[in-house]
C-alpha cells in the first residue's frame, strides 16, 4: 500500500474505503520514543496487561474485617455517608483506565508502561488505514493514544544513598593500600601469637581486651596505691589521711581497680576451676540450693574479670607477686573471710571496701577457710590456694598460672568445703584456646545474658583469637553445649539457647 506498483507514467490507483463497524474492537496507538529502538518485527512473546492500582486506590481501612469478629454492621455505608458530608465523592476503580504494562520477549526482555495521552483527538480524528482482503481499504478509528515508556529494571538510589556512593568514589583507588595494610596486620598478629605461645596461657589477651590505653596506666598506678594501702593497713590505719585517697580512687575507677585487684587472684581463679574437678565427684545436696544462688555471682565476677584484665597488668602482677606474694595471699584470705561474714556474692564495691578492713580478722578466718568444712565463699578457696601454694614453698609463682599445677593436687587433697560443693552438679569447666578462647564459663555467660542461636554464639568466639580453626571451634562448642545443656526454645524457626539466671 505504501508502495504503489510502479507502472505506466501517470498511474492512478483507486481504493475504496470502508469503515467496518465493530463496537467491541477498539483500536489504539502505541507510541514509543525512537530512543527505545523498538522494532515491532523483532517482537516475539509479547504480553500486555493493565497495571493493577486497585490497592493504592482503595487504601483506606481495608484491614478491618467485613464480617465476623471485629466487624461493624453497616460501617462502610456509614463511612461513605460521612465522607459525602465532607464533600468527598469516591470514584469507582476503573481497571480499563489504568496504564498498560507491556512485556516484550518474555521475562528477561524489556518492560514498558503505556500511559494514556489526552488531547490528541480533540480537534481532529485519526483513522488507521489497512488493506482489506478484497483490495480495498479499511479505516478504523483510533480511540486512545498510549505513550509507552521503558520501565527501569533497577532501583534508583535515594538521595542519601547517592550521597554515600558519591563519597565512596575515590575509595576504589585505595584497594591496594588496603590489602597491604591488611597483610601487614596479619603478619603482626602472627608475631604476636608466637610471642604469646612462649608466655603463659593468658598472654594472648593483650591485644584483645584492652579497654583503653589508660587502663594500663591506671592499673599500674592503682597497684602501687593498693600496696600503699596495704602498708597502711599493716600500720593499723594510723595514717588515715594517706590511705583515703587511694581508696577513693579505687571507687572512682572501679573497673580498673577491680582488674587490678582481681588480678591478684586470677591465678587462683584458675585454681578454683580445677577445684571443681575435684569436687565434681563429691556431692553435697543439702547446700545445692544455695550454691545455685551464688553461682551466678561468681560467674559474673569472673566474666567481668575477664573483660577487664589485660596482659600488662598480669605481667606486672606476676612480678609483684613474686615480690609480695605473701601480702597478696593475705589479702585474699581477708577477702574470703569478709565474704564469709557477709555471705554475699562477690559484689565489687564490697571487695574494694573489704580491702580497707583490718587485717587481723582475715588472719583469724583464714585458717578455718583453709581446708575445713566451714561455709566459706568461693573466694575462700582462692585464699586457700594461695596459702597452700605458699605453704608448699612455691610462693614465687603462686598467683600466676604456672602455679596452678602445683596447687591442684593440694586442692584435691583438701576436704570438701561446702562452697566447692555448690559446683558439684557441674562438670569440670571446659576451656580451650586460653582464656580468650572458648570456655564453658564464657559460653554460660553469653547464654545467661540473652538467648542466642548456636551460630550467634559461634560468632562471638570467632572474633576472638582462639587459635582454633572454625571446625575445631564448632566441635568445642558442641561439647560445651552438651555439658551445659541450656534451655532450648524455638523462635521463628531458630533454636535459641539460653540459661535461666539462677
Amino acid at each position: 500500500m505504501s508502495n504503489p506498483q510502479p507502472s505506466a507514467p501517470p498511474t492512478v490507483q483507486e481504493f475504496s474505503i470502508r469503515v467496518p463497524k465493530n463496537v467491541r474492537k477498539k483500536y489504539h496507538v502505541m507510541r514509543f520514543n525512537s530512543a527505545t529502538n523498538t522494532d515491532f518485527s523483532k517482537w516475539t512473546q509479547v504480553k500486555m496487561e493493565r497495571e493493577n492500582n486497585a490497592k493504592e486506590f482503595s487504601r483506606h481501612d481495608d484491614e478491618q474485617p467485613k464480617f465476623g469478629a471485629g466487624s461493624e454492621y453497616g460501617r462502610e455505608a456509614r463511612e461513605e455517608a460521612r465522607r459525602k458530608k465532607f464533600g468527598i465523592i469516591t470514584r469507582k476503580y476503573k481497571p480499563e483506565d489504568q496504564p498498560w504494562i507491556l512485556k516484550v520477549n518474555g521475562k528477561a526482555g524489556r518492560k514498558f508502561k503505556g500511559i494514556r495521552e489526552g488531547g490528541v483527538g480533540d480537534n481532529a480524528s485519526y483513522y488507521v488505514f489497512t488493506h482489506a482482503a478484497d483490495g480495498g481499504i479499511e479505516a478504523y478509528p483510533l480511540c486512545e493514544w498510549y505513550n509507552f515508556q521503558a520501565i527501569q529494571r533497577y532501583k534508583a538510589l535515594s538521595a542519601e544513598e547517592a550521597e554515600q556512593e558519591f563519597g565512596r568514589r575515590n575509595k576504589v583507588m585505595n584497594y591496594f593500600s588496603l590489602m597491604l595494610r591488611k597483610r601487614l596486620k596479619n603478619e603482626d598478629d602472627g608475631e604476636g601469637e608466637e610471642i604469646d605461645e612462649g608466655k603463659p596461657k593468658k598472654g594472648k589477651k593483650s591485644s584483645d581486651f584492652k579497654i583503653s590505653e589508660m587502663d594500663e596506666w591506671i592499673d599500674s598506678d592503682d597497684d602501687s596505691s593498693n600496696d600503699e594501702g596495704e602498708d597502711g593497713e599493716k600500720a593499723e590505719k594510723k595514717t588515715t589521711n594517706k590511705k583515703k585517697p587511694p581508696a577513693k580512687k579505687a571507687k572512682k575507677k572501679k573497673g580498673s581497680d577491680e582488674s587490678a585487684m582481681e588480678e591478684s587472684d586470677d591465678g587462683d581463679e584458675e585454681g578454683r576451676e580445677l577445684d571443681y574437678i575435684s569436687d565434681s565427684s563429691e556431692s553435697d545436696s543439702d547446700k545445692d540450693q544455695k550454691a545455685v544462688k551464688e553461682m551466678k555471682g561468681v560467674e559474673e565476677e569472673s566474666a567481668l574479670r575477664k573483660l577487664l584484665t589485660s596482659d600488662e597488668d598480669e605481667d606486672e602482677e606476676e612480678e609483684k607477686k613474686e615480690e609480695a606474694g605473701k601480702e597478696d595471699a593475705k589479702k585474699d584470705g581477708k577477702e574470703a573471710a569478709d565474704k564469709t561474714d557477709a555471705k554475699d556474692n562477690n559484689s565489687k564495691e564490697k571487695d574494694s571496701k573489704k580491702r580497707k578492713r583490718p587485717k587481723k580478722k582475715a588472719v583469724d578466718k583464714k585458717k578455718p577457710a583453709d581446708g575445713s568444712t566451714s561455709d566459706s565463699s568461693s573466694a575462700s578457696s582462692d585464699s586457700e590456694v594461695e596459702k597452700a601454694a605458699k605453704e608448699s614453698g612455691n610462693n614465687s609463682a603462686t598467683g600466676s598460672r604456672a602455679g596452678t599445677p602445683v596447687e591442684k593436687p593440694k586442692k584435691n587433697n583438701g576436704s570438701p568445703s561446702t562452697k566447692k560443693s555448690r559446683m558439684d552438679h557441674q562438670a569440670p569447666m571446659l576451656s580451650y584456646g586460653g582464656d580468650n578462647g572458648i570456655t564453658e564459663e564464657a559460653v554460660r555467660r553469653y547464654l545467661m545474658r540473652k538467648p542466642m542461636t548456636a551460630t550467634e554464639l559461634l560468632q562471638k568466639f570467632k572474633g576472638r583469637k582462639t587459635g582454633l580453626s572454625s571446625d575445631q571451634l564448632v566441635n568445642v562448642m558442641t561439647q560445651i553445649l552438651k555439658k551445659i545443656n541450656p534451655v532450648k526454645q524455638t523462635i521463628k524457626n531458630k533454636m535459641y539457647l539460653s540459661i535461666k539466671p539462677q
Binding site: S2, T11, K47, S125
Partner: protein, 267 residues
C-alpha cells in the same frame, strides 16, 4: 468492568507485526459522517496518482462517496467532497497500532470469550487530510464560526416576575415514608426468646451494632430492646466502636479469630 479479571497478562497477537499501516488524520466533520455510515458501504475513495515526472511527488486524494455526503441532518451544511492528503513520514518516534477486543458483557456463550489484544501493524506514514478550499468548505467554516461566536448566555428581558419554585406543603418522600411506616405498624414487643434469637443471629454476622440498626433488624421498641441487650451485650463507650453494642464474652463465638488466637497461643 465486563471482564472479571482485567489485570491478567494477555498475549499480544503478533501475526500482523510486519504489516505497515497508515495513520490518517481527518477533520471532525468527516469522522462524524463516517461514524454514522454503516460498515458495509463505501465511504470514500482513495486515489493515489503518481505523475510521470521525476521530480513530482505522489499525490493522494480522498473523495467522499455520495452516500456519505447525503447522511446529514436537515439543517446541516454540506461538507466538501474532495480532500487532499499530505503524506509525511513518522520521525523521532515509533508508532504502532493495537486493537483491544472486549467481549460483550452479557454474552450467552458457554465458553465466555476473553479479551483479545492484537497488534495491528506499524504506522509507516502519516497522512493529513486537507479539504480543498472551495465554496462548500467556506460555507462550512462560516457556519462553524458563526456558531462559535454565539454566546452561551444571553440577556433576555422579562415581562413578569418569574417564580421559580412553589412552596410544597408535604414533600413527596415524606409522604412515602409516612405511608411506609403506617403500613409497617407499631413495633410490638415480641417474645424475649424470639428477640434474643434475632439478636444472636445478627451478631453472628458482625460483632458491633448500633442500636438503630438493631431496632430496624429486630423491629422491637427501643426500650424493650435495650432491656434485653443489657443482659447479653456490652455497650462500648469508647473508640473504636463507640456507641455500639457487642455480645458479652460468654455469649461470643466467633470461629475464625478464635482459631487464630489459639494458633498464636500454640506458637
Amino acid at each position: 468492568m465486563s471482564n472479571p479479571s482485567p489485570h491478567v497478562d494477555r498475549d499480544l497477537d503478533l501475526s500482523n507485526c510486519n504489516r505497515g499501516v497508515w495513520l490518517v488524520k481527518v477533520p471532525k466533520y468527516i469522522s462524524n459522517k463516517w461514524d454514522k455510515a454503516p460498515g458495509n458501504i463505501e465511504v470514500g475513495k482513495l486515489r493515489i496518482s503518481k505523475p510521470s515526472g521525476p521530480k513530482s511527488r505522489t499525490q493522494v486524494s480522498l473523495t467522499l462517496s455520495e452516500s456519505v455526503l447525503c447522511l446529514k441532518e436537515p439543517k446541516e451544511k454540506s461538507i466538501p467532497k474532495e480532500h487532499k492528503l499530505d503524506v509525511s513520514m513518522v520521525t523521532r518516534q515509533t508508532l504502532g497500532v493495537f486493537s483491544h477486543y472486549v467481549p460483550p458483557a452479557n454474552s450467552d456463550a458457554i465458553v465466555p470469550e476473553s479479551e483479545k489484544l492484537c497488534f495491528e501493524g506499524k504506522i509507516e506514514q502519516k497522512l493529513e487530510c486537507h479539504p480543498n478550499a472551495d465554496d462548500t468548505y467556506m460555507q462550512l467554516k462560516f457556519e462553524s464560526i458563526r456558531k462559535a461566536c454565539q454566546p452561551v448566555r444571553q440577556v433576555k428581558q422579562l415581562e413578569r416576575i418569574v417564580q421559580n419554585f412553589k412552596p410544597v406543603s408535604d414533600h413527596k418522600h415524606n409522604i412515602e415514608y409516612e405511608e411506609k411506616k403506617k403500613a409497617e405498624g407499631k413495633k410490638a414487643r415480641d417474645d424475649k426468646d424470639v428477640v434474643l434469637e434475632m439478636i444472636f443471629a445478627a451478631f453472628e454476622k458482625h460483632q458491633y451494632y448500633n442500636i438503630k440498626d438493631l431496632v430496624t433488624k429486630t423491629r422491637q421498641p427501643v426500650v424493650y430492646l435495650k432491656e434485653i441487650l443489657k443482659e447479653v451485650c456490652n455497650y462500648n463507650l469508647k473508640n473504636p466502636h463507640k456507641n455500639m453494642w457487642e455480645l458479652k464474652p460468654e455469649y461470643r463465638h466467633y470461629k475464625e479469630p478464635e482459631n487464630q488466637a489459639s494458633g498464636s497461643d500454640a506458637q
